[in-house]
């Protein structure tokens, strides 16, 4: 660059140092809280830092984390998706019914993911084109998708998955290099999502829609199309989690994923997704999900009644958002 002042303008930013920039992020403090909780548990209990327990923790949070990636996209675009728990069960049922009928895994998986994306597409079209409120549309879908899963399975438990039975159980319940498969898939999906948010026009546009939908319309962003794609992305993430969860549990009933949407929304919000739209990161979604699981796990290990779980998770949602609120008022 020839002009030094221009180069200066391009490179300067509001924050002077890397540390100042990092510590101004809500996600940094949430991450520190999770690290602190893990350290405290390692010292206070002798059961936390065991291989068995860490394996369980990482696997448990992976399902919520995967769906929270999709939820973060929806929330960042200014919407909400209450149907993810039901999308998860309809995906799980689809793959189970097809595989138990003797079809190979890939057919069942493809069908399950297609159904999940169709659920998202229906949500998206009703929200973007019919201009209905996301809360109402996805609330309706929450009920419809779970009911269809019951119809599909006749509300019976399925635990025989045909010729690829062992593969499905390995995929959801197994591990490679000591890492549970759902965790590996979560990491891959988180990297892809972070890339899409930051580097693709899709990401720029969805954050613009969440920030100021009117401005997005005026500047010619295809708002309706982007919204549909965001809900399809959320559906796909719930679908992937559904297939993996069947493999982990080794059986599926229609109450799978009940009230899961609330945990997922909590994870996204703790991770910095802004319910008013325009904010959120893939990394945050993962950390938010991790923190919730660590809280849950620590209460069990410390011998505190599980009745307290809701109080702790709820308090964390409020604290995380309050922290963000105060930080914004300071600047």
């Amino acid at each position: 660059m020839s002009d030094p002042t221009l180069a200066d303008a391009i490179n300067r930013s509001q924050h002077h140092g890397l540390i100042a920039r990092i510590t101004s992020q809500q996600i940094f403090w949430v991450f520190m809280a999770a690290v602190f909780a893990c350290l405290a548990l390692t010292i206070l209990t002798d059961s936390f830092a065991t291989e068995r327990n860490l394996f369980n923790v990482t696997r448990n949070f992976a399902f919520v984390g995967i769906i929270a990636l999709g939820m973060t996209a929806v929330i960042a675009s200014g919407g909400i998706d209450l149907s993810v728990g039901s999308t998860l069960v309809i995906s799980a049922m689809t793959v189970s019914v097809i595989m138990s009928a003797g079809m190979p895994f890939w057919v069942g998986c493809l069908a399950a993911l297609s159904v999940s994306m169709l659920v998202g597409a229906i949500n998206g079209v009703l929200i973007a084109y019919a201009k209905m409120p996301p809360f109402v549309v996805t609330l309706g879908m929450l009920s419809i998708a779970r009911s269809l899963a019951m119809v599909l399975s006749d509300n019976k438990m399925i635990y025989e998955f045909g010729p690829d039975h062992d593969f499905l159980l390995w995929l959801g319940g197994g591990a490679t290099f000591g890492l549970p498969h759902p965790l590996i898939i979560l990491i891959i999906l988180a990297v892809i999502t972070a890339f899409a948010f930051r580097q693709l026009r899709w990401g720029q546009h969805l954050f613009a829609i969440g920030g100021n939908e009117n401005a997005a319309v005026l500047t010619g962003i295809p708002v309706a199309r982007i919204k549909v794609s965001v809900y399809m992305f959320s559906g796909l993430m719930a679908g992937i989690a559904g297939v993996l969860e069947v493999g982990w549990l080794g059986g599926v009933t229609t109450n799978l994923g009940q009230a899961m949407e609330l945990t997922v929304i909590a994870a996204a919000v703790i991770g910095g997704a802004n319910l008013a739209g325009g904010g959120g990161t893939a990394f945050g979604a993962v950390i938010g999900a991790l923190l919730i699981e660590v809280i849950r796990n620590s209460l069990i290990l410390l011998g505190i009644s599980t009745f307290w779980q809701g109080t702790f998770v709820g308090a964390f949602i409020v604290i995380a958002v309050a922290f963000d609120r105060f930080r914004q008022e300071k600047t």
Binding site: L6, I10, S13, L200, F207, A215, A216, T219
Partner: protein, 246 residues
């Protein structure tokens, strides 16, 4: 040559006549203060020029070519840009991202097209420098002053070779210091040969930058004169109707 010429533009909504036989010519680089009381037809006129409404009768000429706008995009392609009152910017994004909103440049990495942030920052820094604004490309709009936000919205119009920029009340809700900043931006546009139509209620702002003042009253154009040949008192009289025409 006129960058924009309106000939006998009328617009009616049913029985209500919002604009009656409005004729107006604007030269390149000219700053026109468009004034009038609420309901005088200012916003209708702006929306006709910006392609939001088609006029009931009359013709629009852009660079002496007769033009018909069916939608705002047609006007934008012809070189008519609008800076909206709320600026149409996203607080959660950087200045550079806002300048390029909806037309982000991309570069290819294999089969994937990724957003070219380096180009966006460089180009928007150049535009801000041209506007003599201290706005920095990496800054979030969220933390900017009203004047800097205006610079972001105006830089967007420079991106697309605008011939004429319509600004709706840009100085309505900002501080005195920021008003000076915005008026400077308008002068910069004018110096680059871009015509500006400034819709404003604030008499001192209009007289500070406008070459010409146009007054609408009940849908009719009652004055079209050089700012130097007029005075705030005369314009006030024209707006209220105390003075018939000038």
């Amino acid at each position: 040559m006129n960058v924009l010429e309106l000939k006998n533009i009328s617009k009616s909504y049913g029985a209500i006549q919002a604009l009656r036989d409005v004729s107006l010519a604007i030269e390149p680089g000219e700053v026109v203060g468009l004034m009038g009381d609420n309901g005088a037809g200012k916003s209708t006129l702006v929306k006709v020029i910006a392609g939001n409404f088609a006029p009931s009768s009359g013709d629009i000429f852009i660079s002496d070519q007769r033009t018909v706008f069916h939608k705002p995009l047609d006007a934008q392609k012809a070189g008519v840009e609008v800076v909206y009152q709320d600026l149409a910017i996203c607080n959660n994004m950087t200045a550079a991202s806002n300048v390029f909103l909806g037309r982000e440049p991309t570069r290819k990495i294999g089969p994937i097209k990724i957003v070219d942030y380096a180009f966006m920052r460089k180009r928007s820094a150049e535009l801000f420098a041209r506007l003599k604004s201290e706005t920095r490309p990496r800054d979030l709009v969220h933390r900017m002053s009203g004047g800097q936000r205006q610079a972001v919205a105006i830089a967007r119009t420079l991106l697309s070779d605008a011939k004429i920029v319509l600004m709706d009340e840009p100085t309505a809700a900002i501080s005195v210091r920021q008003v000076a900043e915005v008026l400077n931006l308008i002068r910069q546009l004018s110096d680059h040969g871009i015509a500006v139509v400034l819709i404003s209620h604030r008499m001192p702002d209009v007289f500070e930058v406008a070459h010409k003042v146009v007054v609408l009253r009940r849908g009719e154009l009652v004055a079209d004169k050089k700012a130097s040949d007029s005075s705030p008192e005369e314009i006030t009289g024209l707006i209220t109707g105390a003075i018939e025409t000038a």
